[in-house]
């Protein structure tokens, strides 16, 4: 097993090293059984294990100073089962989002998985699940918690576990399928996920409108939320003092055409000018361009109540200067790239009614981060659960 699963380090080593984490050894299992053996050995020998997918949101959890075994999950890749009639698929944890969507697009009349966090070419489904990654399309389709039906995994002693299933409704036992979202590998190794899939819509479009000032933007976004329009995702970026809004629409061609018209009409009275373009590729490309940074910048996620999104975005832009910031309007999620200590402190002040979470940060910034959840939850809920499920600390710390 060891010979098959060990690599020379490669990308996971370099990523962790750049973030200030010392990694000693890498295992790259290709089968569940191999991953199970690694964890069973780690439990027996009291070694620490850090599961890593595409390493695009590696700081979502607590990065330890030193890791005995980096579990490179990209070897566990592929679609284990696609149930076209029941609109679900079982996908191995190391499969990238792009890989999944390329597969789905080629099935029947075409399907897709509406999860669109940044770096979809590298982000794996296991990593997106573990870090609670999301993109603009959560406005219409929801986030991981709305798309995942079940998970398979391996516990801290190397035992197989599974939760949820293939049905949309499932209230059998505790919903660990949801609980493990965002747990950053601290409680269980995810080896496969059962996801909902959707038929590709008959029509897609992207509308682009620019507003001159934040006051008009805020009024427009409130008017959009109050309207009957159903955008799939809305992004806002501040560019040279103005606010550039992209809004994606999907559905029946007649509905999409009407939404394009109404969206542009709605923007007009607030000084918004722009245009609509039809087509799925152009829509996806525009959204991707809005949310993805250049290179592997330090990144944080800020979430606020919906109405505070524009002002928080503007405040963060003042702090971040040329660094990229983008708001998923309608969700109150803001990604900030190029984050440093000053920006993080400012973000925490601006998001007084929400949260600030690391996505990709050097350990030195994480070590001064402070508590991520309130003390009652940490002491009465999360730490006792961690001690119960992972008594010897095989997995990384829980927050």
């Amino acid at each position: 097993m060891k010979e098959q699963a060990t690599t020379d380090g490669g990308a996971p080593f370099r990523t962790l090293e750049s973030l200030g984490v010392e990694a000693r050894h890498v295992e790259r299992p290709t089968k569940e059984r191999e991953a199970q053996q690694v964890l069973a050995r780690a439990f027996k020998e009291k070694l620490t294990v850090l599961p890593v997918g595409g390493a695009t949101a590696i700081s979502a959890g607590t990065l330890p100073e030193r890791v005995d075994i980096v579990l490179d999950m990209t070897g566990m890749e592929g679609i284990a089962h696609f149930d076209i009639s029941n609109l679900n698929m079982t996908v191995l944890a190391g499969t990238t989002l792009n890989g999944i969507n390329e597969f789905l697009a080629g099935q029947g009349n075409g399907f897709f998985l509406p999860l669109d966090p940044p770096f979809s070419e590298r982000a794996t489904i296991g990593g997106v699940y573990a870090s609670n990654g999301s993109g603009p399309s959560r406005l219409r389709y929801g986030a991981v918690r709305d798309q995942v039906l079940g998970v398979r995994g391996i516990d801290a002693q190397g035992g197989e576990v599974g939760f949820g299933g293939k049905t949309v409704k499932n209230v059998s036992g505790y919903d660990l399928t949801k609980f493990l979202i965002g747990s950053a590998g601290s409680l269980c190794l995810i080896t496969a996920a059962i996801m909902r899939v959707y038929p590709l819509p008959a029509a897609s479009s992207i509308c682009e409108v620019t507003f001159p000032a934040i006051g008009e933007l805020e009024k427009f976004l409130q008017a959009l939320r109050s309207s009957v329009l159903l955008p799939s995702g809305v992004t806002v970026e501040q560019v040279l003092g103005a606010f550039r809004v992209l809004s994606a629409f999907e559905g029946h061609p007649l509905a999409v055409e009407r939404e394009n018209r109404d969206f542009l009409s709605l923007a007009g009275p607030f000084g918004g000018k722009g245009e609509a373009k039809m087509g799925r590729e152009v829509m996806e490309e525009a959204i991707r361009g809005a949310i993805e940074p250049v290179g592997d910048a330090m990144a944080i996620k800020v979430t606020v109540p919906l109405s505070e999104g524009p002002a928080t975005l503007a405040g963060l832009k003042d702090l971040a200067g040329p660094a990229k910031t983008v708001l998923f309007a309608g969700n109150g999620v803001i990604l900030v790239y190029g984050a440093d200590e000053r920006i993080i402190d400012g973000a925490k002040r601006l998001a007084a009614h929400g949260y600030v979470a690391p996505i990709r940060l050097h350990r030195s910034l994480l070590s001064t981060w402070g508590p991520r959840v309130n003390p009652a939850l940490e002491q009465i809920v999360l730490r006792p659960i961690k001690e119960k499920l992972d008594p010897s600390g095989v997995f990384p710390p829980i927050l």
Binding site: D83, S85, N86, N132, G142, A143, R145, D146, G159, E160, G162, K166, T167, V168, K169, N170, V171, S172, G173, Y174, D175, L176, T177, K178, F179, L180, I181, G182, S183, S186, L187, Q222, S226, V228, L229, H252, P253, A255, R258, T303, P305, L306, G332, V333, A351, H353, Y355, A357, R372, V373, N374, A376, L377, I380, V381, I385, K388, L389, I398, L399
Partner: protein, 464 residues
């Protein structure tokens, strides 16, 4: 429990008149809409979250168990006090605290009925998606505890997808918040864990929910079929076409007759099945989608269909569906709901097996189900004074759940495990899975006082 001492303490917290302690009163709180009967030690009516925190803190110190109760409509015994514990009764915590249109959230207390919230939101042009058939009587706290579903969950998801935060009293009596109006609280999804935990990990005292703009247009169509299988085929064909309606609900002949006798919804008595289809969203393109759906219905041999002309007709059609459980209750003294779920395409097989089980155990079974998401509700009708029939009902119910599990589904879609499906947990979970759930329960509620005996099967003593 030293009853007088505990009663005095609870009366000190909620007031003398808000604690029930006489046997005749306690009997009413010793059962719920399920079949199991327990024994309540005391009942305390709470008015605010501070009282809940004080009660839980006191009971934790005294080592006395407790169960939070909304309306008791869960149907699996989830709110039955099994060991003489205290019932914390939430019907007076029934206020809407805030309707925040700007942020698309509503904040409610747990005792408020689902329908009361819906009506308040409708006045402002908004709605809350989960709409259990029991919404007239079921509380939002109970909906959270059970992860309630409803007909519209096919398109919009269940309670878990719409509850974003809660003020919670933890099992040690500490009051805190999980989530809130903003999305993505850091760390594991604690809200996801709490929803559906049937009050075994803490008690929600304020609930923050997502609300959505009412759709521009709603179209509701009633389709009549000469077989349940044909109706089921239409459901699969509609979804395969890429159309996700807001609802796809089926009732069989036994339920149709019961509903007509009770609600007079206009369902034909000789129909073997009716299928309710509802589309919602933008007006544009909807007629074309409904036209395509009628073509599918015709291909599958629909006997007749009719579109609701207006909101009144729509409400009558829905009154039949929402009144189905109450209607069948008129046929026999009691019924057991088997809330199993199967992948949508396995519905015909599951229904065929249910029919065989009905014959095998000589018990009438009516079917009303959320066909779009494969959530069955075989209603086994019986006389609970007949011990032999009761025994056959339990065997039939267990076999139906086994069928669901074997077809790739699960043992509960929206009513929970409670006490009544504990044995069946092994149909869908292995020892390691249940061990992990039990570990969470022990970690959060080390004294095991928070609604004990529910959801997680007890650890069996291993033979030496």
């Amino acid at each position: 429990m030293e009853k007088e001492h505990v009663r005095d303490a609870l009366q000190g917290i909620v007031g003398k008149k808000n604690v029930l302690w006489k046997d005749v009163d306690l009997t009413v709180y010793s059962y719920d809409a399920g079949l199991v009967k327990g024994k309540a030690g005391l009942v305390a009516f709470v008015d605010n979250s501070d009282q809940v925190a004080q009660i839980v803190s006191f009971l934790c110190k005294e080592g006395i168990s407790y169960v939070a109760r909304g309306s008791g409509t869960n149907l699996t015994g989830g709110t039955v006090p099994l060991d003489g514990g205290v019932v914390i009764e939430f019907s007076r915590m029934n206020r809407i605290l805030e309707i925040d249109i700007e942020n698309e959230r509503v904040v409610v207390e747990p005792g408020i009925y689902n329908l009361t919230v819906q009506n308040a939101l409708a006045e402002k042009g908004y709605y809350y998606a989960p709409d259990p058939a029991s919404q007239k009587a079921s509380s939002m706290g109970g909906n959270l505890g059970e992860n309630a579903g409803g007909p519209h969950c096919l398109k919009y998801g269940v309670t878990s997808n719409h509850v974003l935060g809660a003020e919670v009293v933890l099992p040690n009596g500490e009051k805190t918040w999980i989530g809130g109006k903003a999305l993505d609280a850091p760390g594991p999804d604690l809200m996801g864990l709490l929803v559906g935990s049937e009050g075994t990990l803490g008690i929600a005292t304020k609930i923050v929910c997502r609300i959505m703009r009412s759709p521009e247009r709603v179209l509701t169509m009633l389709c009549i079929y000469s077989s349940v299988e044909a109706a089921g085929q239409t459901v699969s064909d509609i979804v395969a076409e890429g159309i996700i309606p807001a609802t796809l609900e089926i009732m069989d002949n036994l339920v149709i007759r019961a509903v007509e006798a009770s609600v007079h919804a206009g369902y034909p008595l000789d129909a073997e099945a009716v299928l309710l289809i509802e589309l919602d969203g933008l007006t544009d393109g909807m007629d074309e989608q409904m036209k395509r759906i009628t073509e599918i219905c015709e291909k599958d041999g629909v006997v007749s269909y009719r579109l609701a002309k207006d909101v009144n007709e729509r409400n009558i059609l829905w009154a039949g569906r929402r009144g189905a459980f109450g209607a069948v209750a008129r046929l026999r003294p009691a019924y057991l709901v088997c809330d199993g779920t199967v992948p949508r395409t396995e519905l015909p097989k599951a229904l065929s097996e249910v029919k065989k089980i009905s014959e095998k155990y000589r018990v009438p079974i009516g079917n009303v189900f959320h066909a779009g998401d494969g959530n069955l509700h075989p209603l086994i009708l019986f006389d609970d004074r007949d011990a032999d029939e009761v025994a056959r009902v339990h065997k039939a119910g267990r076999e139906i759940l086994k069928v669901c599990a074997d077809l790739g589904g699960t043992i509960s879609g929206e009513h929970g495990i409670g006490t009544e499906k504990l044995r069946e947990m092994s149909f869908v979970f292995k020892d390691g899975d249940i061990r992990m759930m039990r570990g969470i329960k022990q970690a959060v509620d080390p004294k095991g006082l928070c609604n004990p005996g529910k959801v997680i099967p007890r650890e069996e003593a291993r033979p030496r």
